[in-house]
């Protein structure tokens, strides 16, 4: 069915790896997105291309993980990964100096709503919540839970700022694999989420999408090493929800970092549960997924041209490439220097 005038198109793409899925999302957006102005368009820019986008990455840790159409070097990608996972740039949250009002790491691991973001010295009346640790603790103790999420938005203060967070929420869920029968029973019996959700959880035993889950061993063809542990008992699924997204210049770096957060969460949940947890599919949902008009010329003259002229394997890099590994090491050294 065609979108009606005034409707934002809803596009869904799926890929085995991050570059496959992201590239498809940008190409589909370019072809099918609605033309609409944004507050960031400059005089003379064409209207942005926009859609609601759902991206599914089946194997977020499988190589190749890097698409070459991002605006930086590998060092920048590694620093951004560490910014999201470990908060290496949380020190730049200093709105009183005209700098950042947040980082994703700060919002997820130290959420504390305030009424005013004009200074980092303003204290929240609430206790700081480490939502990342909560996700780990919650899923380790209640593997069936659907409450393992972390939010970033502060309705008390974000709407009034110039650059509020694009990422709104991450949501994680464990699905048992291997011994499917006992896994499903476990999700009903072990429920601590309240009666309504327990009931739904019990019903899940009859849900084909749960009971038909394959064991890790029966899909060796599409689950290469690094994506699934052969002896995994649980698979960590993650969804991320974005209010607004620069599809061409930000989304790939976002997905690269968020899927590494998914890996890090899986490792930590596994350690806490003392059971192997594999990394499952990653789903990335954007309300407004856009390419700004200001980028169109560069997008056509570089991205579309190279997609047409180069084979896919020449548009991507593996993270285990010797040059990439050297760049990652350089970034780590530079971050150490920044810290010192």
């Amino acid at each position: 069915m065609k979108d009606r005038a005034g409707d934002i198109p809803v596009i869904s793409v799926r890929g085995r790896t991050i570059p496959e899925a992201w590239e498809q999302s940008v190409l589909r957006l370019w072809e099918e997105g609605v033309r609409v102005r944004t507050e960031y368009d400059r005089d003379g820019d064409e209207p942005s291309r926009d859609s609601t986008m759902v991206i599914v990455v089946d194997e977020p840790l499988s190589e190749p993980r890097i698409h070459l159409a991002f605006p930086g070097g590998i060092e920048d990608l590694e620093k951004y990964r560490q910014e999201v996972l470990f908060g290496v740039h949380d020190g730049w949250i200093r709105p009183q100096e005209g700098k950042w009002t947040y980082t994703y790491h700060q919002r997820l691991s130290a959420y504390a709503p305030v009424a005013d973001l004009s200074s980092s010295n303003i204290k929240s009346p609430f206790e700081v919540v480490d939502q990342i640790q909560y996700i780990i603790d919650k899923l380790a103790s209640s593997p069936h839970s659907r409450r393992a999420q972390g939010i970033t938005w502060m309705p008390t203060a974000d709407p009034a700022t110039d650059d509020p967070p694009c990422l709104q929420r991450i949501w994680c869920r464990l699905i048992p694999v291997g011994d499917v029968g006992s896994g499903s029973r476990e999700s009903g019996v072990g429920s601590r989420d309240g009666s309504r959700e327990s009931a739904v959880g019990t019903n899940d035993q009859d849900n084909p999408s749960t009971t038909r889950l394959p064991t890790a061993d029966c899909r060796p063809d599409c689950r290469p090493a690094g994506s699934r542990l052969p002896n995994a008992q649980f698979v960590l699924n993650m969804n991320s929800h974005w209010r607004s997204r620069d599809a061409y210049k930000a989304a790939f770096m976002n997905i690269y970092a968020l899927t590494d957060l998914q890996r890090w969460l899986a490792e930590n949940i596994s350690e806490k549960m003392k059971k192997p947890v594999a990394v499952g599919r990653y789903v990335d949902i954007s309300d407004s997924y856009h390419i700004y008009g200001a980028y169109f010329q560069e997008f056509c003259e570089r991205f579309l041209k190279l997609v047409k002229e180069r084979p896919f394997d020449k548009r991507v890099w593996r993270t285990d490439d010797r040059r990439v590994q050297a760049a990652i090491k350089r970034a780590q050294e530079e971050l150490e220097k920044e810290k010192a």
Binding site: R42, P71, G72, L306, R323
Partner: protein, 211 residues
């Protein structure tokens, strides 16, 4: 042949290989200036041209620039004063309040690849620090950028600081960054504007004139 291999290793962004080949070239008695001009900069010129023509992605340029740097670090100490890179000196920074450095780094590396001496004074640079750097390095060009609309007004502030310090007449000022336009650059009184890193190199060459 060795110089061509160095050029090719830069094009491939293989820093380890560049280092090996530069060491070999120097041990075989090739002059440092030839290693730089016919190997390292020749490679980076090819990368710059390919980027400008839409044939390279940004991470490839950055990888090549890092590879060139790895070679330069070995060769530079061997240059005599007269052999120092001499196309001109550029002081580069992002404005006060902006800590984004990816665009600035790309421009910086492309300028170095084109043979300029680049003094990168970093991000979040206060006007006083810029003035200090211009006094200390006597550049021909100052390049200022910002990624944020919220710090756009810092560009005219930086220009005013150079003016107030009596330095504006000594330097050409180039501006850039996502929210910057030619119209903004003109209004701010800048001498040049470039929408991307490849054009920033062209603009710098134009500003310095033939030579």
């Amino acid at each position: 042949m060795l110089l061509e291999d160095i050029e090719q290793a830069v094009i491939e962004g293989d820093g380890e290989k560049v280092e090996q080949l530069v060491r070999l070239a120097l041990s075989e008695g090739l002059p440092a200036s030839r290693v730089i001009n016919e190997g390292l900069i020749a490679g980076m010129n090819t990368v710059g041209r390919r980027f400008k023509e839409g044939e390279y992605f940004i991470p490839e340029v950055m990888m090549s620039a890092r590879a060139m740097h790895a070679g330069l670090a070995l060769v530079k100490p061997l240059l005599t004063m007269s052999e120092q890179l001499s196309r001109g000196t550029i002081v580069i920074c992002t404005v006060k309040g902006d800590v984004h450095d990816i665009g600035k780094n790309l421009v910086s590396m492309m300028l170095e690849g084109a043979g300029f001496r680049v003094v990168d004074i970093g991000t979040d640079v206060a006007p006083e620090k810029l003035v200090e750097a211009v006094r200390a390095n006597s550049p021909q060009i100052v390049a200022i950028s910002t990624l944020l609309t919220t710090t756009l007004h810092r560009i005219p502030e930086a220009l005013k600081a150079l003016e107030a310090a009596g330095l504006r007449g000594n330097v050409k000022v180039m501006v850039g960054g996502a929210p910057v336009t030619q119209a903004f650059a003109d209004k701010a009184g800048a001498d040049g504007y470039a929408p991307d890193a490849a054009l920033a190199v062209d603009r710098a060459k134009e500003l310095l004139g033939p030579g």
